[in-house]
Symmetry: C2
Subunit: 121 residues, 2 copies
């Protein structure tokens, strides 16, 4: 509602530092990139997926192994692996009935470890 009144009242408050806002706006990430990036980090935002990612640091594994390791159902793990794969965090390779999952790249490990450093400090 306030938005319609003037350019100087966008929300309930006045823009205090117009020069700063103008300058920052030029370097601001665009909407699509912000959404993609949020979606990417969202994948790390669940403890089950964190454990799966961490487990795959040590070895590639099949769905049953991961389910057993984490004490969860095959279905729950399968759903999460799908999420991880869609975000290109993991790869899969099929061998008969069994599907082996592994980390996509070292990149993921770096992000994981930087997060770990932050929470431990």
């Amino acid at each position: 509602m306030d938005k319609e009144i003037s350019n100087f009242k966008i929300c309930s408050c006045t823009v205090i530092h117009e020069d700063v806002v103008t300058r920052v706006r030029e370097t601001l990430i665009n909407e699509n990139h912000a959404l993609s990036l949020a979606d990417f980090f969202k994948v790390f935002g669940d403890s089950t997926r964190i454990k799966i990612i961490n487990a795959l640091f040590s070895s590639e594994m099949c769905v049953c192994d991961i389910a057993a390791l984490l004490g969860m159902t095959q279905s729950a793990i399968s759903h999460q692996l799908r999420t991880l794969k869609q975000a290109r965090l993991i790869n899969s390779k099929k061998d008969g009935k069994v599907v082996y999952y592994s980390l996509d790249d070292e990149h993921i490990k770096e992000i994981f470890n930087k997060g770990l450093t932050h929470i431990k400090e």
Copy 2:
């Protein structure tokens, strides 16, 4: 239900690689760390917070400035800043009525940029 039957049937499927599971279990992240880490990344998992973090790369800003910059209400921004602060991603400093928010450390920038690299590849 299957869990009660035997150690070899934890979910609906049999553990295929018992040696792998046993070995990986030893290096597995513990429950509390997994939860903390997930909570930490969860904070990056929203496009509004992504934009706020990105904006603070350029300059510290007050709540009104950020609200104006992103075209959102002061209340919505204030709620998100609280989330960011609780996760220790940002700091605040008060100057009269105005509260200035800034990034906590360069660390956050690194994680952000690594994520950006991933989605752009």
